[in-house]
């Protein structure tokens, strides 16, 4: 999607026309197929989509961590404050990772080192990036623990001594230790219970404001988006089908897939006898449909949808959609 209208100054992250394929001997998985993302300084973008939409691959590209050699970056740029991450040397990347850009992974159970104390794991990044002594790093690590709501005296304990919610707090402390400009959170609360999820989301929101960080929040949960994001991109089969502010997407959604996503959710307050599922299945990324990737599942598909990929249509300064229904006019044809 072409996000040219956004002011290029003051953007923490710009991804331009990113295409990533996973190539194996007998097939090519087209994971990301021309994604454009812009995150302004201090803002949070929600990347929303279902399994296999290409969310995590996109996120990994920001740290140049797309699995090598099967992951191939076919084209595109990932610019962090104007510098292309994809062409950086190993030492430049080392400086970047964990310092300017940090990532919180989905599963706190597997993203911590089981044989290091949590204090050491938080201090590690500080020692490397801030070039301070181990003692000083540990002192700062303890401050980070307090910040995420864990008593400093637990710094000497190992991950197995913490519950799931506490482990995710440790992961957040590691990510924030070097006060990054950009935080990538890949389904940070999916593995947690709802009451713990509520605690962690509030923590993330508080810290984001405190450090004035930009954030990329990857999630499948529109409830979480409503809570922490400023803007939303809806991803499907490696394309962004709709992008806008929270108001654009929640009050004024345009793309049939976005409407389908909202329609398929059970509403907590209105009991309906039937849910409205989106018909069919996610497309096979080794054999994507021609034209618009959503057309085989779309209730409004027209002849043109299977032939031509739709172009980006701007409906306002903040809201754009990739759909043939919106070719000539700003008004909905639905």
């Amino acid at each position: 999607m072409d996000i040219k209208k956004v002011n290029e100054k003051g953007n923490t992250l710009e991804i331009k026309n990113l295409v990533i394929h996973y190539v194996s001997e007998d097939e090519v998985v087209k994971a990301v197929n021309g994604v454009d993302i812009t995150i302004a300084s201090g803002k949070t973008l929600g990347l929303v989509g279902e399994t296999g939409a290409g969310k995590t691959t996109t996120a990994l590209s920001i740290l140049n961590l797309v699995p090598d050699p099967q992951g191939k970056i076919i084209s595109g740029e990932v610019l962090l404050e104007g510098k292309n991450v994809l062409t950086m040397s190993d030492s430049e990347l080392e400086e970047l990772r964990g310092d300017k850009v940090a990532m919180i992974f989905q599963d706190p159970m597997t993203s911590l080192n089981p044989v290091l104390t949590v204090g050491d794991q938080i201090a590690e990044g500080l020692e490397i990036h801030r070039k301070i002594s181990k003692g000083e790093a540990l002192k700062q690590a303890k401050e980070m623990l307090e910040l995420v709501g864990i008593p400093a005296e637990r710094a000497g304990e190992y991950p197995y001594q913490f519950s799931g919610g506490m482990k995710q707090r440790v992961v957040i402390a590691i990510a924030l230790a070097c006060s990054p400009d950009l935080l990538i959170a890949d389904e940070p609360t999916t593995a947690l219970d709802v009451t713990i999820q509520a605690q962690v989301l509030i923590l993330i929101n508080d810290l984001k404001q405190k450090y004035h960080m930009s954030m990329l929040m990857i999630t499948h949960d529109l409830g979480i988006v409503a809570e922490v994001c400023d803007e939303v991109s809806i991803v499907y089969a490696g394309r962004i089908l709709e992008h806008g502010t929270l108001e654009d997407i929640f009050d004024n959604m345009r793309h049939p897939y976005t409407k389908g996503l909202f329609g398929a959710l059970p509403d907590i307050e209105v009991r309906r006898t039937e849910l409205k599922p989106i018909k069919g299945l996610m497309p096979d990324p080794t054999n994507l449909p021609s034209g618009c990737p959503f057309h085989p599942r779309c209730d409004y598909a027209m002849e043109v949808c299977s032939k031509l990929p739709p172009e980006t249509k701007w409906l306002s300064d903040t809201h754009c959609v990739e759909c043939h229904l919106y070719k000539d006019t700003n008004e909905s044809m639905l």
Partner: protein, 321 residues
């Protein structure tokens, strides 16, 4: 004749662990009418899955009574139990690990029919498999495919077909849609509702997802650390939750809208250990309304209005914040 299909009385399941006794399920009592759905909700470790398995005697309950269709099943021997299990089936959470990777769809669905010696004739059995596949919306051409060739939604359909193969009266669904994407989740939930209507099935629906359970269940039971703390018809539970934990749980659901967002009740701390619990309210240490009595006595489940049961010393009277 009563309309009750299943009655569970004071069901307990304890596990012996090095530090003492782990009270996974600790005195759970409820009943379900024929054709209805009871949702059991709670967070990890509250005992909801263990309760489901104990009802099917897949784990042997420590004590209690389970009366299914008029029969006290804890008194049955292995053979009698095997017979009655045809009527009680289970759908598992994870369609990726609950299917045998070396069996085709047809073999997987056929297996329970062979084991129960229900249809000895091979051709008739195959017809039955095709019929089941149609019921759950699996295309005929998939009959010889293996689980790894299929997506999560289709795999879960196999799990459902397999549970239906015995013509059961009762199915325990343990987080049947948690591993699925929302667009597929809605397909499976609609399918399960349709089957329930057509076959007059009774469900226990175990889940941590409150929006799904509200959509699906007639009654909802909330569990916390092995105890049933509140039970009510779905509309009542959502409109008028009484237990402070139920209130917090409902308010913690992220709502997919940006206006009129509900006020959130934040809980302190995390779930405590289920090993050797003290005979006090197990939620007291996280409760925003706890009074001295809460850490002295264990509250019992009482009926505060018709069909609405709560186990809380405050009974919501002081907790209407």
């Amino acid at each position: 004749m009563s309309n009750t299909l299943l009655e569970v009385k004071d069901l307990k399941k304890y596990y012996k662990v090095p530090k003492g006794m782990l009270h996974a399920v600790d005195g759970v009592t409820f009943s379900i009418d024929k054709g209805k759905t009871l949702g059991i909700v709670g967070e990890s470790g509250c005992g909801k899955t263990t309760a489901g398995r104990a009802i099917l005697r897949l784990v042997e309950p420590t004590s209690g009574q389970i009366i299914f269709d008029g029969v006290d099943i804890l008194k049955l021997n292995k053979n009698e139990m095997r017979h009655i299990r045809k009527d009680m089936q289970l759908i598992f959470q994870d369609p990726f690990s609950s299917l045998n990777p070396r069996k085709t769809i047809a073999q997987t669905i056929e297996e329970p029919i062979i084991l129960a010696k229900m249809i000895p004739d091979k051709n008739k059995r195959f017809m039955r498999v095709m019929e089941l596949m149609e019921t759950v919306g699996l295309a005929e051409r998939l009959v010889n495919t293996y689980p790894h060739e299929l997506d999560g939604g289709r795999r879960q359909r196999i799990g459902i077909a397999r549970a239906l193969a015995m013509n059961p009266k009762f199915i325990i669904c343990d987080e049947p849609v948690s591993a699925l994407d929302v667009s597929i989740q809605a397909q499976i939930l609609n399918l399960m509702k349709k089957i329930q209507r057509e076959m007059g099935l009774t469900y226990i629906f175990i889940t941590h997802d409150l929006s799904v359970v509200n959509h699906f269940s007639d009654d909802i039971a909330v569990m916390y650390l092995g105890r049933l703390i509140e039970k009510a018809p779905s509309e009542i539970l959502f409109a008028n939750p009484v237990h402070p934990y139920t209130k917090a749980l409902l308010s913690a659901i992220p709502v997919p809208r940006i206006h009129n967002r509900p006020q959130r009740i934040l809980l302190r701390g995390e779930i405590t250990s289920p090993i050797n619990p003290e005979p006090v309210c197990r939620f007291a240490n996280r409760c925003n309304y706890a009074e001295p009595i809460c850490s002295k006595e264990e509250p019992v489940l009482i009926e505060i209005e018709p069909n609405h049961f709560v186990a809380c010393h405050l009974k919501g009277i002081n907790a209407n914040a």
